[in-house]
């Protein structure tokens, strides 16, 4: 987000949109009059819907808020057929509170939070139900990843960005292990970031910066990080290249971008493998209906190569019940069971018999993990590439 910018208002007749940006803090109605005149003019000039774009309005005082409300009230009288659509971003913290309030009070007003629906699976991802899932996963992956990170070029005293950092536990582990000169984690889930901040506070860590932000439009400067990570995140986004482009942009020339993603269809457990396999295939389909590609892992090599990365390296973390603490592994699968049969099934309205069968498959996977003669896997793909130039 930029520093305090002056106020601007622009009307595009073609788009039927008025964009208000910067800082709007009038002393009162008189001070607001020129803005009101522009708004009235726009309302007179359009038919159907007038878009009021507040995405980049960083400041609004209460006086300005009231004047906007008066404009909306006046619109309802003067143009009864006109709808006002307020387009807002939650990256501006007061915006959902105030405009939500207006939306609830005025019949002619609809509030659209642009970053609420910017990828289809968002509702089921940015939710604190996912916290236990992420936590247990990081716990068991870290023992493998710690060494792999070195092999993929992470060293001590680097500038690191973890994009889609989730609950921030990876950033904490990296911070302790690699003593970065600077590390920032960005995520678009408030519950996750709150959790991340709490953890850092509890651990007495003050040097990790966490930012609320959008991975497809980062506010971080270009060419400024030695190592950029994004773990288990591209797979949940319907347009992974738009994130990867941003990771490439903020990475220094010669620095590396490091990704991990899954191939859920290859999660396996024996015995009872048919049930296990059915469940993961079904889960992949459900996720697909929300725009996620849970089999994204193996595709990273192509994507990195196509985007011009050099020295692309890729491998698999073969998590099995032979190389991982059994209780932890089981807990990960149990947290998936809860998440997929709860949150995810509800969001996609799965019939009860499907939910039941999904549940059985997860339980059979846990059975394979815990059984003396069972074998169970969860493969994770790791890939990294170097940004050209230097």
């Amino acid at each position: 987000m930029e520093h305090e910018r002056p106020f601007t208002i622009r009307f595009s007749e073609n788009d039927q949109e008025v964009a208000l940006e910067g800082s709007l803090r009038p002393a009162g109605a008189e001070d607001f009059a020129p803005v009101r005149a522009r708004l009235d003019h726009a309302a007179d000039a359009v038919r159907g819907v007038l878009y009021l774009n507040f995405k980049r309005l960083r400041y609004l005082n209460h006086a300005g808020f009231l004047e906007l409300a008066r404009f909306i009230a006046a619109c309802a009288e003067r143009h009864p057929a006109l709808k006002l659509k307020l387009v807002i971003s939650s990256v501006v913290p007061w915006a959902p509170l105030r405009f939500g309030f207006l939306g609830a009070r005025f019949g002619n007003t609809i509030v659209e939070q642009y970053d609420k629906a910017f990828y289809p699976g968002q509702g089921v991802i940015e939710n604190d139900q996912l916290v236990p899932v992420l936590r247990t996963q990081t716990n068991i992956v870290w023992s493998h990843e710690r060494e792999l990170l070195r092999q993929h070029g992470l060293g001590k005293h680097m500038r690191i960005a973890d994009i889609c950092c989730g609950i921030g536990d990876f950033a904490v582990l990296v911070y302790k292990e690699f003593e970065p000169t600077y590390i920032v984690g960005v995520d678009h889930s408030r519950p996750f970031l709150q959790y991340a901040q709490q953890i850092a506070r509890d651990f007495g860590i003050t040097d990790i910066e966490y930012q609320f932000g959008d991975a497809t439009h980062l506010f971080l400067p270009s060419n400024s990080f030695d190592f950029v990570t994004s773990r288990l995140a591209l797979q949940i986004f319907n347009d992974p290249s738009s994130i990867l482009r941003e990771l490439l942009r903020i990475c220094k020339p010669g620095g590396r971008v490091y990704l991990t993603n899954e191939m859920s269809a290859h999660n396996y457990g024996y015995p009872r493998h048919e049930s296990v396999t059915w469940t993961y295939q079904q889960a992949v389909k459900i996720a697909q209906s929300l725009g996620m590609d849970m089999n994204f892992g193996p595709k990273m090599f192509s994507l990195l190569t196509d985007m011009g990365f050099e020295d692309v390296r890729m491998e698999q973390i073969p998590i099995t019940n032979n190389n991982t603490a059994i209780d932890d592994f089981a807990r990960v699968i149990e947290s998936w069971e809860e998440y997929v049969t709860g949150e995810l099934s509800t969001a996609t309205q799965q019939p009860p018999e499907v939910v039941e069968r999904l549940r059985m498959g997860f339980r059979d996977h846990v059975y394979a993990i815990r059984s003396r003669r069972g074998f169970a896997t969860w493969p994770i793909y790791v890939a990294s590439g170097r940004k050209p130039g230097r």
Binding site: E4, R25, A29, R58, L60, N61, H62, P93, L97
Partner: protein, 168 residues
């Protein structure tokens, strides 16, 4: 959200910054309110986890209080802004000189910003605000919609507005 003006911290908030502004200086320009609010917010938030977000929030709230003080027009003297931090909150105290009339006004307006039923009262006020010029409900809105705490502390010829802002 808390309504406590002074959160339970045995040692009190740890101080971050103190600013003294002459009342006359503030009245030179309306835009002083936002300049001050932005400056203080950016300074206070600089070492926090998400400085940009906290700056936006703090500046929004401080500006509202400064605009209130601007409109309330204390007589000659100084306005002192002291900002400190506890584990949970940023606490800003604005001390201004008061006479009888201003002290009364502060009591009324900050009484209106009392946290109990703040939202319902703000909603009721809002309806009439659309029709007539606003009473001092900018402060009530801070409590009702944004969940910050506001309180008044009175001294000998001074009034102190205490703004309590949760870190997140």
């Amino acid at each position: 959200m808390t309504s406590d003006p002074a959160p339970p911290s045995p040692s009190g908030p740890s101080p971050i910054l103190t600013l003294r502004i002459s009342v006359r200086g503030l009245y030179d320009s309306w835009t002083h309110c936002q300049r001050l609010a932005d400056y203080i917010a950016r300074f206070v938030a600089s070492d926090r986890f998400d400085p940009e977000q906290l700056t936006t929030r703090l500046s929004t709230y401080l500006n509202e209080v400064l605009e209130y003080v601007f409109r309330a027009r204390p007589s000659e003297g100084e306005i002192v802004v002291e900002v400190g931090r506890t584990d949970e909150h940023v606490i800003a105290e604005l001390t201004m000189p008061t006479d009888e009339a201003l002290a009364r006004r502060l009591r009324v307006d900050l009484g209106l910003a009392e946290p109990t039923d703040a939202r319902a009262r703000y909603e009721a006020e809002f309806e009439s605000m659309i029709l007539r010029p606003p009473a001092e409900v900018g402060l009530l809105e801070l409590v009702a919609l944004h969940g910050v705490g506001l309180a008044l502390r009175e001294g000998e010829g001074t009034g102190v507005i205490v703004l309590t802002v949760p870190h997140e």
